[in-house]
């Protein structure tokens, strides 16, 4: 299959893996953060740790949208189902995220009108087809998914569809990276830059990481060879004492990003003064809200949505795992109270969550091997 098989070619992968071994300084430990949850998933899914020397440590970053979302936002969104008798629509990733009174999928089983959609345009269509009902789209994701939400809002405005609204939980990746760089307990050598987000925002926004923090950034694709090649590029920078932004994923990521997508984002959204991230706390200018022109379609402006503050279950250490301070299996609940089947925290839900990926692809293998 094109764009897949050549990036899983055993011979090329062996070459990249050998090159990594040549490039490393065996006396040194490397901590490289993959920012994007899609990379976390790929790293476990393709068992890349098996191909890396032990002194390269991959640290999982905050780029998993449902993982960083505070539980209160789910509860606030679901409250519209009862209070407004609304049809609640969202992406599949959100369906199993635990809220205080159950996940969307559990609420659905109890009769709540909750529907999984593949695109916000499907939610808009539901609103068209059900003019007597309110339809809310629970929007989530980084700049990857935000343009499709923005486009949908433009369509809703053009067609004056009054019973449709968006509850925006869109966040932006760069402030989160900055928060990690400024965090005192963070010692990182380099970043594997996000792939999908960068198809929209391009490579330019990461320049400060190299310039101000002297950390190499290599934007990477999601296939095994992409990730290994990105690590090669990072190791070369570190060996040469350079810190640059490089783009390994040039087949998809334009340096300047996707200009029409960026335009539609700017038309519809503006930055919130601050937004709460699980594990990272409140980060200023890190999330998107609808501009006032779109207030009629903004669930937060239209409905009385109490800001529900819900802290994570005490024993869960999602925050530490999100910041890369703890590995998934070092959390007290990992594989005990918290499993993909009965997740306590969102990191165990999303396929991009570090805990779910670790549990699904590695944990049982290691458990069985050590038994």
């Amino acid at each position: 299959m094109k764009y897949v098989d050549e990036f899983r070619d055993p011979r090329l992968i062996k070459q990249a893996s050998d090159e990594i071994k040549r490039l490393i300084d065996p006396s040194r430990h490397y901590r490289i953060m993959e920012v994007c949850g899609g990379h976390t998933h790929a790293i476990y899914r393709f068992a890349l740790a098996d191909l890396l020397p032990p002194n390269i440590e991959l640290v999982h970053g905050p780029g998993c949208p449902v993982c960083v979302l505070p539980m209160g936002r789910i509860d606030a969104g679901l409250s519209l189902v009862e209070e407004q008798h609304a049809i609640f629509t969202t992406f599949g990733d959100v369906m199993r995220v635990p809220g205080r009174h159950g996940s969307p999928i559990e609420r659905q089983a109890r009769g709540a009108d909750i529907r999984m959609v593949y695109s916000p345009l499907d939610a808009l269509k539901l609103a068209r087809d059900n003019p007597e009902r309110q339809v809310v789209f629970f929007a989530i994701g980084f700049e990857t998914t935000a343009p499709s939400t923005a486009l949908t809002l433009k369509r809703a405005q053009e067609a004056a569809i009054a019973n449709f609204s968006v509850f925006s939980n869109h966040v932006t990746i760069v402030p989160a990276i900055r928060a990690i760089l400024d965090s005192p307990d963070m010692r990182l050598d380099a970043f594997i830059g996000p792939g999908h987000v960068s198809t929209v925002i391009g490579a330019r926004p990461y320049a400060f990481i190299a310039r101000d923090y002297q950390k190499p950034v290599v934007i990477s694709g999601f296939e095994p060879l992409d990730l290994l090649q990105s690590i090669v590029m990072i190791l070369r920078q570190l060996r040469d004492g350079r810190a640059d932004v490089e783009n390994q994923y040039g087949r998809t990521v334009p340096w300047d990003g996707n200009l029409p997508a960026l335009r539609v984002l700017a038309d519809v959204f503006e930055l919130r003064p601050f937004f709460e991230w699980r594990g990272l706390g409140f980060i200023s200018q890190s999330a998107l809200k609808l501009r006032s022109e779109y207030a009629p379609w903004d669930a937060e402006a239209r409905f009385d949505m109490a800001a529900v503050q819900v802290t994570d279950p005490k024993a869960a250490q999602c925050g530490e795992v999100l910041k890369g301070v703890l590995k998934p299996h070092q959390c007290k609940l990992f594989a005990r109270e918290c499993t993909p089947e009965r997740p306590v925290g969102a990191l165990m839900v999303s396929s991009e969550g570090a805990c779910a990926a670790y549990y699904n692809y590695v944990h049982r293998r290691d458990m069985a091997a050590s038994a």
């Binding site: 055993p10 393709f46 599949g92 199993r96 994701g141 095994p224 999303s350 692809y361 293998r365 091997a369």
Partner: protein, 348 residues
Amino acid sequence: MTTIASRVVTFSDQQIDMAHGAGGKASRRLVEGLIVPNFFTSGAGEPLSDAAYLALGDARLAITTDSFVVRPLRFAGGSIGDLAVNGTVNDLAVGGAIPYALMCSLIVEAGLPTDVLRAEVEAMGAAAARAGVRIVGGDTKVVEHGKADGLYITTTGIGRVDDRASLSAATVRPGDRVLVSGHVGDHGITVLLARGDIDLAADLRSDTRSVFPFVDALFDAAGAEVRWMRDPTRGGLATSLNELARDCGLAIVLDEESMPVRDEVRGACELLGLDPLHIANEGQLVAVVAQQAAGRALDAIRNVPGGESAAIVGRVDVAPARTVLAAASYGGTRVVDMLVGDPLPRIC
């Protein structure tokens, strides 16, 4: 199988969710924790199989039942009527029985056009004729409009245990080979696309058919060296093999490279964040065969029409116990777990 008998499954979920019907972990907990303990007084803890076995005088019979609730009712390559016959025939076949007769129960939603019902009943008749079984009786109920997605079908099948069969997870040994009869994931992806929720089109057809010809060829070629068989429907190959790994206490190591998966299925799975190994099949067989018989078994299946792309996709190993692994051609290995929840597409 004392290790299994000692394992007590409890079911403490407060309500039934869609995941309990998806064929994965939650389904298993529901069946083993809530349903089975109330039905069986002895034999509890034995591995569950696709069919139950009864001895009546000298006759050894296999009996099985299955319900079909697919939406949409028709899709490329088949329909609910085909599934209702083939699904039950296949449970008998992989249970080591020669399918003989079916009973069918129809639950029809008021308002269903007669032409739709007629088409499904005709499909059942034709599928039964192809599979060489008779439909000997049944029942029909009509429920209010809005209650049954058009049509639900339950079929119950009975067959004679094949003298050539000696199937049990307990006979599986390290070194045995894992064989599949053809491309995996066709049915699940076909139905997913037929629902029209995703704006994707692919030239795919459901693989719904009787797998008895494969089973028959396999027994002829390898007899008692065929250790275990399943038709990997809901939950896909991953779920069937995890059940085997658990029941035999061994490791199943798959070779991803040799797994027959069509590009269309791989492509859809890559896009939607699904694993072909979790996708349902309705006309495939997965079997474990003794190492020395594997070549013969493979040739036998490949000689059956529709079995041309059969492949040996893995082997049984000692460790890691009760685990399914997939080894990639470039070196890494990953755990292949049972399906958790319903397969949900990822967003970014």
